[in-house]
Structure formats: structure tokens, C-alpha cells
């Protein structure tokens, strides 16, 4: 009981942290829609700028690795930003929700990371800057076992190095 309480507390603390300073570990919803309040105090061209004002992640439909229209819109913004700030290299992480085997989801995550990377390259980001990695279902950001959580976890995240 005490343990569960502690973990709830930890989750709450984590969420609170995300609210005040969005990072790439944050579970903030949406495909990185800019909120005016979040822009203040962020240096243009910084990693924080990329996460808060461009959106570092795109989401996928269940068991799919094809890019949705909203994902393509986010990736167009990402590509424009990345071309403006060519000093960053990046690792595109592919993630899956918790359904299915670990191994299948590793393959699915790789397909998703690859879809994002290929789109960025086609949009003009130099191929040498883009690496991919799949975490399968091992690194969820949302903890529930429902569609709300799963839809957050089926994602491709562009992490600047």
C-alpha cells in the first residue's frame, strides 16, 4: 500500500515536472502544438525551443508505421527547424504501446523510427545527421492500459543530440 502510494506520488511529481518544463520525457499531449505561455524564456534554436515550439514527437495508429497527416505537418516543421539549425544531430526513437510481444514491438518501433527518419531526410535533413533506435514497448510515457495512454505511447520522438 505504502509502495503504491509512493509510486503515485512519484508519477504525480513527474507529471508536475513536465508541466513546468516540457522535456523529451514529458507526456504532454498533442503533436507539439505551440502554446504561447511555454515560449517565454526559451532560447531560439535550443533543444527546449525544438521541443516546445516545434514538437519533438509524432503519433501513430495502432499497429501502423505510416505517417498520419498531423504527423507529416509536425515533421515538416521539424525539418524546417533542423535545416535552420544544422549543428544538431538526432536520434529518432520508435515506440509502441504495450499490446503484442516485446519482439514484435521492437520491429514495429524500428519501422516507425525509420518512417520518421525517412520523411525528415526526404524533407532535406542530411542523412548523416539522422540515426534511429527502437525501444519497442519498453519505454512508455503514459502509464494507463487504455486507448488514451496507448495513443501517447505509439510515437516517434526526434531527440536532439
Amino acid at each position: 500500500m505504502k509502495l503504491r502510494f509512493l509510486s503515485i506520488f512519484a508519477a504525480a511529481a513527474l507529471l508536475a515536472a513536465c508541466e513546468s518544463a516540457p522535456t523529451d520525457t514529458g507526456a504532454k499531449g498533442g503533436a507539439g502544438q505551440t502554446s504561447p505561455a511555454a515560449t517565454s524564456g526559451i532560447v531560439k534554436g535550443s533543444k527546449e525551443d525544438f521541443v516546445a515550439n516545434v514538437g519533438d514527437r509524432v503519433f501513430f495508429d495502432f499497429d501502423k508505421s505510416s505517417l498520419r497527416a498531423d504527423a507529416k505537418a509536425t515533421l515538416d516543421k521539424q525539418a524546417a527547424w533542423l535545416k535552420a539549425y544544422p549543428n544538431y544531430a538526432m536520434t529518432v526513437e520508435g515506440h509502441a504501446d504495450e499490446r503484442g510481444t516485446r519482439e514484435y514491438n521492437l520491429a514495429l518501433g524500428e519501422k516507425r523510427a525509420n518512417a520518421v527518419a525517412e520523411y525528415l531526410k526526404a524533407a532535406g535533413v542530411a542523412a548523416a545527421r539522422v540515426k534511429t533506435v527502437s525501444y519497442g514497448k519498453e519505454r512508455p510515457v503514459a502509464l494507463g492500459s487504455n486507448e488514451a495512454a496507448w495513443s501517447q505511447n505509439r510515437r516517434g520522438v526526434t531527440v536532439l543530440n
Binding site: S7, A10, A11, L14, T25, A27, S65, T91, G100, T101, R102, E103, Y104, L106, A107, L108, E110, K111, N114, A115, E118, V133, S134, Y135, G136, E138, R139, P140, V141, A142, L143
Partner: protein, 340 residues
């Protein structure tokens, strides 16, 4: 018919799952109307020893053997407080009436001796108390720190003789120990004996590790590690403690399994959004691509019994059912091979 023999017969019936019709000319007719799963009462006195160390190991062995057999649910060790014959006199000869009197149907007699080379020699015999007959036994020697393995081997031998099935007590379990919250999980490659003893972490949790599998010899483990952030198949040698990456591949390698002879590892490699199954010969270091398909081919159920061929989880057809690779035409029943 002694209880021991009937228990074996019963186990056989459960294994077959069928009732075999007795031929018409048989003299004895047995009607089995229901299963009887009453555990067999077995007496497991301390194994005898001549030195304090041997005596201590002997007592420890009998405790581990008792615990193994009791956990199987098929045996009920008799409380040692009820024993009439002493450990010392048992070494001379079992006094069967003494064991019948306390309703033990089987009796284990054992001895521990440390040799001049420092190795312990363990000897045991299993007796059928009601028929006053020897059932099985052996002598094995090992380093003193391996006394637990010797105990499990004693339990395996008893289990096999009584039930007719191989024992599973001398077994290790390799697994991923997970700790921490779901969104910040620490995962460590870990190993323990079947009874939870001798637990060890093999990796320190600084990197993500997944899907460990034993080699047929159980001396090697193949698994997926994100060492330095790159997901790769590794092989961990339990004897040397060394680990090595399996080859150098352009894409992520994962989902490894050993072949039954231990000479090959089958795994998946994902590259540019496509996953295929490969095989690597550990002796020649040659790799071979086994599937050629623009779909997810992974989770090889490596080397199932011959008639099943090799199969894997795939998305080649709707529903993600396991399918046989193109090289192995034929039908596949879900080929989940259980290896004891």
C-alpha cells in the same frame, strides 16, 4: 501394488491423457474411476557424515531434497521428529519396520564424504519401504560449494524413479529483473536456481536488457542489450562471465534463440524499416538470411521438433499467426517448444 508403483502408473495416465483399454485376455481388470493425487509419504533423514563439515552438508542436502520434492506436490516428506531409526544405524542397514511404523512409503539413505582432494562425494539410495526393495541410487562428487546442485540432482533422481518423468529441480531460471516505475524501469539480466536460491544479477541495470534465452547446455545466455544505446544481440558466458556482441550488423539485432545443438543463434535484424530472420553459425561466424519479405518477421520459434520446421511470429498474413518460412513448406501447429 505398492503406492509408489501406482503413482508412477497414474502419472503415465495423466501424461497420455487417455485411458488405455485392457486387452480382453488380460487377467486383471482395473477400473479407474477417478484420479488420486495423494502425495507419497517419503522419509528423508539427514545424509550421514563423519566430519562436522560433512554432517552439516548432509543435513543441508536433506533439507533441500525435502523442499524440492514437497514443492512438486507429489511427495509429502515425513516429519523427521517421527523417525525411529537413527542416521548412524541407517548407514548399516535400513530397518524397514521402523519406517513402516511411521507410514513412510519411500526412504532416502545418503552419505557425504570429503575426499583428500577437497571434493565431496555424495552417495544416496532410494528404498521402497513396503517391498523392502532398492529402487535407485548413485554416487557423485563435486566441489563443496556445489552441494545445492548435488541436492537437486538427488531430488531429480527420486522424482524420475517414482513418477517416471524427468525431474526439473536441477534447473536454473534466467530472467529480467525489473524495478522502478513503469516509465523509468530498470532491467537487469538475472539468474537463479529453480527454488529461488543462488540469485545473481548478471548486468548492473545501466543498460536496457531484454528477452534472455539459454543455450542447450545452459552455460550461455543470448539476450538483447542496449549497451551504449545500440540494441544488439549479445551472448553471455556463465562460466567466464564474459559477454560478446553477436557479429557486427548494420541494423538492430534482436529476438535471439539458440539452435538445439547450441552451435547457431537465430535472430531478427531490422534495417530500414524491414525485419528479417537470420542465422549465425557460432563456430564459423557465417551468417545466413532465412526470410526475404517486406513484413515483420521476428520471434523465431527456433528449431521446433523436426516435423514443425522453423516458425516465427509474423504479419505476412492477417492476424499475425505464426507461419513457416518459405524454406519449410508444410503445416505448422503452434510450435512453442517446451524444453525441460
Amino acid at each position: 501394488m505398492s503406492r509408489i508403483r501406482s503413482l508412477a502408473a497414474l502419472a503415465a495416465i495423466f501424461v497420455l491423457g487417455v485411458f488405455v483399454a485392457i486387452p480382453a485376455h488380460a487377467e486383471v481388470r482395473i477400473d479407474i474411476t477417478r484420479g488420486q493425487m495423494k502425495p507419497l509419504p517419503i522419509a528423508i533423514p539427514d545424509f550421514a557424515g563423519n566430519s562436522p563439515q560433512d554432517t552439516r552438508i548432509g543435513a543441508d542436502i536433506s533439507k533441500v531434497v525435502s523442499a524440492d520434492l514437497e514443492r512438486s506436490g507429489l511427495f509429502k516428506p515425513v516429519d523427521p521428529k517421527a523417525f525411529i531409526q537413527s542416521v548412524a544405524s541407517l548407514q548399516v542397514q535400513p530397518r524397514f519396520p521402523d519406517w513402516k511404523a511411521i507410514n513412510a512409503e519411500a526412504l532416502v539413505q545418503g552419505k557425504v564424504e570429503t575426499g583428500a582432494d577437497g571434493r565431496v562425494r555424495v552417495e544416496f539410495r532410494l528404498w521402497d519401504v513396503f517391498n523392502e526393495a532398492y529402487m535407485t541410487g548413485w554416487t557423485l562428487s563435486a566441489s563443496p560449494q556445489d552441494w545445492r546442485r548435488l541436492s537437486h540432482k538427488v531430488a531429480d533422481a527420486i522424482y524420475k524413479r517414482v513418477t517416471g518423468e524427468d525431474g526439473y529441480f536441477d534447473t536454473q531460471i534466467v530472467y529480467i529483473a525489473e524495478s522502478g516505475p513503469k516509465n523509468d524501469r530498470k532491467k537487469r539480466l538475472s539468474i537463479m536456481d529453480q527454488d529461488g536460491e543462488n540469485h545473481r544479477f548478471l548486468t548492473d541495470g545501466s543498460e536496457l536488457v531484454l528477452t534472455p534465452r539459454f543455450s542447450p547446455s545452459s552455460r550461455e545466455i543470448t539476450y538483447l542489450s542496449y549497451f551504449k544505446g545500440v540494441p544488439r544481440v549479445y551472448i553471455f558466458n556463465l562460466d567466464t562471465g564474459r559477454r560478446e556482441a553477436l557479429g557486427n550488423f548494420p541494423g538492430m539485432t534482436f529476438a535471439p534463440r539458440f539452435s538445439p545443438d547450441g552451435n547457431k543463434v537465430i535472430f531478427s535484424m531490422a534495417e530500414s524499416g524491414n525485419t528479417e530472420i537470420y542465422e549465425m553459425n557460432l563456430l564459423t561466424r557465417q551468417k545466413k538470411q532465412l526470410t526475404f519479405n517486406p513484413a515483420i518477421d521476428t520471434a523465431p520459434r527456433c528449431h521446433a521438433p523436426r516435423r514443425f520446421g522453423r516458425a516465427f511470429a509474423g504479419r505476412r498474413f492477417p492476424g499475425g499467426r505464426p507461419h513457416l518460412g518459405p524454406q519449410w513448406p508444410g503445416s505448422v501447429v503452434f510450435p512453442r517448444v517446451s524444453v525441460r
